[in-house]
């Protein structure tokens, strides 16, 4: 008897799971009326509360773009603050529709966790910060310098590899907590502080005199950060991916949130296709014809969101670097919309 009950229960839960898995995420999202977006607990520039206690940041803008494409309303987003441990579970369990949380795209994550990386919103990489007064100009001058580092991270391994590869003396001061690392560097216990360059820039902006510190030009690791969706729903994956491409394409074509209405009258066929004046690229995605117009109108293009959140005029102050468009010397590249 008990055995039968268990069998029935298992079968029931399996079939429930199966039906749920087959339902398209887009339909669920449309039914509930908002996109549930997983973000960090607060990383300035990427996803953090602003002075009005509203989520802002590059990754938040991606979620807003997604909502703009689906609902013509960039505010139809709900944010779930996730720790790095729970982010993938939350995604695969369906608690969030998209994860946009400083997540590095790696092969094992992409292939083993039942999730799919959409693209690279931000090319990050590990860098070094030193005091300007020390006169160091390149990471290759760092042999023997005391390096403040967080223990047990890929940061530590990357730095060890880099030093070994360049035959330099590797001399670390190790801490368990990021805050301690920064404090130690600030107090002069070490000469160098190393972590992802975006984090370096954010920490640098918090110092009493940020200009006393410089970030060295060398980037020693690849940390492509991008949004992630559940694997298995190609329709949703395409929406997520082309929302990102639309941001890039808009920048490439010079369409911004301020001139998008004028651009509707443009003669450039690429702009016509992007804005839905010519052809209909939205309907195959399950969206409307003007999906990209809504994204640009409500959120802006990639350059706008980059400059607003992490660009040189913000306290984070990150130059475009790798994140510039391909034609400007970076590697951000969107396939054509046609």
């Amino acid at each position: 008897m008990q055995k039968t009950l268990v069998t029935i229960a298992v079968a029931a839960s399996l079939s429930l799971g199966a039906t749920a898995a087959h339902a398209a995420i887009l339909d669920d999202v449309k039914a509930k009326g908002y996109v549930q977006c997983g973000v960090t607990g607060g990383v300035p520039g990427f996803s953090a509360p602003d002075s009005n206690n509203v989520w802002t940041g590059l990754e938040v803008d991606y979620c807003r773009a997604l909502a703009a494409a689906i609902f013509n309303d960039a505010e139809a987003v709900r944010y779930t603050s996730l720790t790095s441990q729970e982010r993938f579970t939350a995604l695969s369990a369906g608690e969030i529709d998209v994860l946009s949380r400083t997540t590095t795209w790696t092969m094992s994550r992409d292939t083993q966790l039942g999730i799919s990386f959409v693209g690279t919103m931000f090319y990050d990489g590990q860098g070094f910060m030193v005091r300007k007064a020390d006169g160091i100009k390149s990471a290759l001058d760092l042999s023997g310098a005391a390096i403040c580092i967080e223990s047990g991270t890929t940061t530590e391994l990357n730095a060890a590899d880099y030093f070994a590869a360049n035959n330099m003396e590797f001399n670390t001061v190790v801490f368990v907590d990021q805050d301690e690392v920064v404090k130690a560097y600030e107090d002069g216990r070490c000469d160098v502080y190393t972590t992802d360059s975006s984090a370096l820039a954010a920490e640098r902006s918090k110092f009493a005199v940020p200009d006393d510190h410089i970030i060295l030009p060398e980037i020693i690791s690849k940390e492509p950060l991008g949004p992630v969706v559940r694997a298995g729903d190609t329709g949703w994956f395409n929406i997520a991916r082309w929302t990102y491409y639309a941001l890039l394409e808009a920048e490439e074509l010079g369409v911004t949130s301020t001139n998008v209405d004028e651009m509707l009258g443009s003669d450039n066929p690429a702009i016509k296709r992007l804005l839905g004046v010519e052809g209909d690229f939205g309907t195959p995605l399950g969206l409307t014809k003007d999906w990209a117009y809504q994204i640009i109108k409500l959120v802006g293009n990639y350059a706008e969101t980059y400059d607003r959140n992490v660009g040189p005029s913000t306290p984070i102050g990150l130059a475009r670097g790798l994140n510039a468009l391909w034609k400007d010397g970076g590697i951000q590249y969107a396939p054509p919309i046609r």
């Binding site: 990383v43 002075s51 206690n53 709900r78 939350a90 369906g94 918090k206």
Partner: protein, 375 residues
């Protein structure tokens, strides 16, 4: 009879007046300078105070930047605590992401809670029964609809937006009010003669006590969604709330059991011989005595629950401490050498006020209920 006798003819010369036995000088002499060792210790103590007090005073008040200060003042080299930062980010610390135009709703919840809860604490306040029903039954329902909205024309505010002190208070108040009765039931169950109930209670208590709260929260947040069919999600806030309540109730059960074991067997038998049933015996005779014994233990649990609420950061929720930490990291416009320190100090002060009040109230209750053992 001899005529040898002694009759004093003149007065004894007056002795010098005794050392003062009252007044500040006398107190100082008796308590501070009684022996050479005392004197040295006193002097060392004074030296320590002159060393530690002025910098502390300067940091907290003297060189501190008041609520209306600017970040430039906070960045000055000799600036103290940056209270302007706390003042400017206060909304986040209290309400988290709760929409600013809707913040009157949590305010009403806070006010209602204070109006209903404070009279419950004052023994002389009237209408205890009505008051208790209002607080325990009506208030949670009203608060829930006010905070979450979605009905009666109120905008819906999902629990992901709740944060700060609001979350800390909700979790601790709900945890305290639910875990106390649950703990009593578990303690009684553990002493029960019915084998099934007894085993269930023991199993529950021992299982929960054997794992740290972090594990329970982690389990609720990360493992649970994997067990459930896709698409069915239980609110994260609710999961944390249930986790904290179950955890505290297991501890509460053991504290109450300690009280039950202090009651002599004669009391149980006396109750039975009066013809009282099990629940009457417990309610009228055993529990009033048992609980009185374990007030310090119970309040201990409440205080640790209040502080443990900050562990919900594990599941990505922003309680007071996590809200402060978030702003410390992300409010770049307020960055200065003392911003983060001031944030943590603020959180510490809030926690201290709540925990200290609980401890003082429990001491008052102990004195008031200490009728049978007063010496």
């Amino acid at each position: 009879m001899s005529d040898i006798g002694f009759v004093r003819a003149d007065l004894v010369p007056a002795k010098p007046a005794p050392n003062r036995t009252s007044g500040a000088m006398a107190w100082a002499q008796k308590n501070l300078f009684a022996t050479p060792v005392d004197t040295i210790l006193t002097l060392l103590g004074l030296l320590f105070l002159t060393w530690i007090v002025p910098p502390l005073f300067n940091f907290f008040i003297g060189h501190a930047v008041g609520p209306n200060g600017t970040v430039e003042e906070c960045r000055a080299i000799d600036a103290g605590a940056c209270w302007a930062y706390i003042y400017s980010e206060m909304e986040f610390f209290i309400y988290g992401f709760y929409d600013i135009p809707q913040q009157w709703r949590p305010n009403i919840v806070f006010a209602l809670g204070a109006m209903l809860f404070v009279p419950l604490l004052i023994p002389k306040a009237p209408f205890k029964r009505v008051n208790a029903i209002l607080f325990l039954v009506v208030y949670p329902v009203v608060s829930y609809f006010l905070l979450a909205g979605g009905v009666f024309g109120l905008t819906e505010i999902p629990t992901e937006k709740w944060g700060g002190l609001l979350v800390t208070l909700i979790i601790s108040v709900v945890g305290i009010t639910l875990s106390f009765p649950l703990g009593i039931i578990l303690a009684l169950g553990r002493q029960s003669n019915l084998p099934v109930i007894k085993t269930l209670c023991i199993a529950f208590i021992e299982l929960i006590r054997a794992v740290p709260l972090i594990t329970i929260l982690f389990m609720a947040s990360i493992m649970l969604p994997l067990f459930m069919p896709q698409g069915t999600t239980v609110d994260k806030f609710l999961r944390a709330l249930v986790g904290v309540t179950l955890f505290t109730s297991a501890y509460m059960a053991e504290v109450v059991r300690g009280g039950l074991q202090a009651i002599p067997r004669g009391q149980y038998e006396a109750g039975a011989s009066l013809g009282l049933g099990y629940w009457q015996r417990m309610y009228f005779i055993i529990l009033p005595q048992a609980l009185k014994h374990v007030i310090p233990g119970i309040v201990n649990n409440f205080i640790s629950l209040f502080k443990d609420t900050s562990l919900v950061y594990i599941v990505g929720m922003k309680d007071l401490l996590e809200a402060v930490k978030t702003k410390n990291d992300s409010a770049l416009e307020w960055q200065s050498a003392n911003t983060a320190t001031t944030g943590y100090l603020f959180a510490a002060m809030v926690f201290w006020v709540f925990c200290f009040s609980m401890s003082r109230y429990s001491m008052y209750m102990e004195r008031r209920l200490n009728t049978g053992y007063k010496r």
